[in-house]
Point group: C2
Chain length 180, copies 2
């Protein structure tokens, strides 16, 4: 049993980042994180759309807005990981982080284009998912995929109203009866 995994998304801007931050939240949930917190601009649209997905598709994923990211990181009790192309290759540090995760909660910090320099110092690990520029959405997914060793692909989401039945061709979704 692993401890809690929380994602902190920095520097959200309503106009520019709504979809990217939503994708980050969807990935966090689908790949087994327990919670996403975002800072930057408060955005009720992002929260609403992520809550709607969680309500339909199950699980107890939570998303909240947090004005003060610095306090949040500093007071977080657990292992703090920042995903950045400038950090150490994930393949070199993931075993160590996973081991720590057996006893401690993990905070995964992901930024947008401009991450304050202090972040690098506030965390325990700066981790690179390739040293190439790409996407915080992808970095988060691959990190969680490595962290959970692919077991997140088999996750079950309790309380789901909708469930996909995997098909070779086409779509099959079943509705689960709600328990009152």
């Amino acid at each position: 049993m692993m401890s809690k995994v929380i994602v902190l998304r920095l520097g959200h801007r309503i106009k520019r980042d709504a979809r990217i931050t939503t994708h980050c939240g969807l990935v966090a949930r689908a790949f087994g994180a327990n919670e996403m917190v975002f800072s930057g601009e408060e955005d009720k649209g992002v929260i609403a759309s992520l809550e709607k997905v969680a309500e339909r598709w199950g699980g107890d994923f939570r998303v909240t807005y947090m004005h003060s990211w610095r306090k949040f990181i500093e007071s977080f009790e657990g292992v703090k990981v920042h995903l950045t192309m400038y950090g150490l290759p994930v393949q070199r540090v993931i075993d160590e982080i996973r081991d720590l995760g057996r006893k401690k909660s993990i905070l995964i910090v992901i930024g947008g284009e401009k991450v304050p320099g202090i972040i690098y110092k506030l965390v325990d690990y700066n981790v690179a998912i390739t040293s190439q520029p790409h996407s915080e959405v992808a970095a988060l997914a691959v990190f969680l995929h490595e962290y959970f060793r692919g077991k997140e692909l088999e996750l079950n989401f309790p309380g789901a109203k909708l469930k996909v039945v995997p098909q070779k061709c086409g779509k099959k979704v079943v509705k689960t009866e709600e328990v009152p």
Copy 2:
């Protein structure tokens, strides 16, 4: 040695998808695909920003716009894979696809929210990266990561003008001299 990997991004809309499609392209390049083709609305901004990254960070990744996605898929010679939450779990089919990739090129089709139903029939594999709703950016990254068995994390990009030197803390980028 694996054959070519080409990503086809469907249904691009300039206003709504510019950043997501750019992230798809960046992920395609960073995780070892050779090329991205996109359909939907033609968008020179997306092409320019991806070409700029490839010029700076190396490799020979190409991105092009293609009006007729259907013809492109039908005439593609190789294995056609569509990433969709409704498909078969990646962990069940990836070994088979990887084996085929030793001899044949791979086309990875990714859509946005509304994928034409015919796509499911035009491809050889409908593949799910979890059966949960999340992100085409993440799906592409995890698919490529599984396809290349994590070896893409060690990729070298020839001709790079900039190179990251991984650091425990902070950023280190070296400039490579251009060869005339």
